[in-house]
Symmetry: C2
Subunit: 196 residues, 2 copies
DNA sequence: TCACTTTGTTAATGAGCGTTAACGCATTCC
DNA sequence: GGAATGCGTTAACGCTCATTAACAAAGTGA
C-alpha cells in the first residue's frame, strides 16, 4: 500500500471539494464559483484544470466505480478459493470506502444521470462488473440463493452499507471501529437471512 | 382502510408527476414546464395550484414523512405488547412503501436540503419520531443493543429497504411478493446480527 | 343576464449560472 | 534576455428557468 506524502495537486483539491459540495447540495445545486472558492480560486479559474463542470462529475464517478472494481478484483484474487474470506474482504473494503469517502458514496448512486451518455455507460459497466463479483461470491457462500435473488440481496446490502451518510455526522457515532464492525455483522446477517 | 375510487384531483396529479420527475432527475434538474407538460398544462399554469416549485417539494416530503410516521404509530398501537410482531409490521409497512412509491422513497433522503428551513425542520422532526419508534421496538426485541447501536442499525436497515429503486426496473425482479419477502428476511437477519 | 371564480393561456421579466474572452504575471527553458 | 507556458484574474455573453403579468374562456349562482 503506497501512502502519499506529497501535497495534493490542484486538480485533486478541486475534485475533493467538488465531491463534497455535489454530495451536500446536488450537482445542479452547486455553482462553479462555489467550487472555485472552496479551493481559493475564482470560478472560471477551474477551466484551466477541467473542461467544465460536467467533466469534474464524470471524473469523480468514473474514478469511484473504477476504484471499487479494482479493489474488488484484488480482494477476489487475494483470497481466491475461500469464498467466506473473499466475502468478508469485500464487505470490509466497501465499508472502508463508505466510511472514508462518504461524499463519493453519496454521489455514486445519486448523480449518475447527469453524465454524458458515454460516461454513464462506462460507469454503469464498471458498477455492473463490481456487482457481479459480489453476486458470484455470495452464491458460493449461499448456494441456495438463485442468481436474481443474490443480485437483489447484493444491491440491498449496498444500500445498507451506503447508509453511512445518514449515520449522524460525528458525535453520535460509537467510533469508527465499532460502526464498521456493526455494519459488517449486519451485512453478513442479511446475506445469511436472504437464503431462507 | 378507505379506498379511493374518485378521480385524482389536479393537485394530486401534479404531485405524483412531480415526485416521479424529481426522483428521476433531481429537483434542480426538472423544470416547471416539464411538470406542467406531464399533467397536460403549461408550466405557469401550475401556479394556480401551488405557490411555487419549492412548495411542491415541501408538500411531497412533509407528506411522505407524515405518512410513514402515522403508519408507524398505528402499527405500534395495533400490536402493542408484542415487540416481535410490531417489528414485523413496521418492516412490512416500510417495504410496502418502498415498493409502491419508489419515487417518493428516493426523494425522501435525497432532496431534503432543498427545503426552506421551517419545512426542513418539520420533516426532520417527523423522520426522527419515526426512527425513534423503530429504535424502541428494536431494543425490545434485541435488548443487548445499546441505543446508539440500535439507532445506527435502524438507519442501516432503512438503507437496505430503501434500495428498491436500484433493484432493476421490472423484468429482473422475481415478482413483488418474493422481493418483499426477501427484503423482510434480510432486514430481520440484519437486526439479529447487529446484536453480536 | 351578469358578475365572479376557477383554471388555463402566452408573453415578458429578471436572476442565476456555465462558459468564453481578454488580459496579467510568474516561472521555465533555450 | 526573451519567448513560451502555466495559472490566475475580471468582465461579458448567452441561455435556462422560476416567476409574474395580462388576458381568455368556461362554469356557477343570484
Amino acid at each position: 500500500m503506497a501512502t502519499r506524502t506529497d501535497a495534493p495537486t490542484r486538480r485533486e483539491q478541486i475534485l475533493k471539494e467538488a465531491a463534497r459540495l455535489f454530495a451536500e447540495r446536488g450537482f445542479h445545486g452547486v455553482g462553479v464559483d462555489e467550487i472555485g472558492a472552496a479551493v481559493g480560486i475564482s470560478g472560471p479559474g477551474l477551466y484551466r484544470h477541467f473542461a467544465g463542470k460536467d467533466a469534474m462529475l464524470a471524473e469523480l464517478l468514473v474514478g469511484i466505480s473504477g476504484q471499487l472494481l479494482t479493489g474488488g478484483k484484488r480482494r477476489l484474487a487475494e483470497s481466491a478459493g475461500d469464498p467466506e474470506k473473499v466475502l468478508d474482504s469485500l464487505i470490509e473494503g466497501h465499508i472502508d470506502f463508505a466510511l472514508d469517502d462518504r461524499p463519493l458514496i453519496t454521489l455514486h448512486d445519486r448523480e449518475l444521470d447527469r453524465l454524458r451518455d458515454s460516461d454513464r455507460k462506462l460507469v454503469r459497466q464498471l458498477q455492473r462488473q463490481y456487482v457481479e463479483i459480489w453476486v458470484g461470491v455470495v452464491r458460493e457462500v449461499h448456494p441456495e440463493l438463485s442468481e436474481p435473488a443474490a443480485r437483489s440481496a447484493v444491491h440491498s446490502v449496498f444500500g445498507l452499507l451506503n447508509s453511512t451518510p445518514h449515520l449522524g455526522r460525528a458525535g453520535s457515532l460509537p467510533g469508527r471501529g465499532a460502526t464498521a464492525a456493526l455494519l459488517h455483522r449486519m451485512a453478513k446477517g442479511a446475506f445469511a437471512a436472504a437464503g431462507a
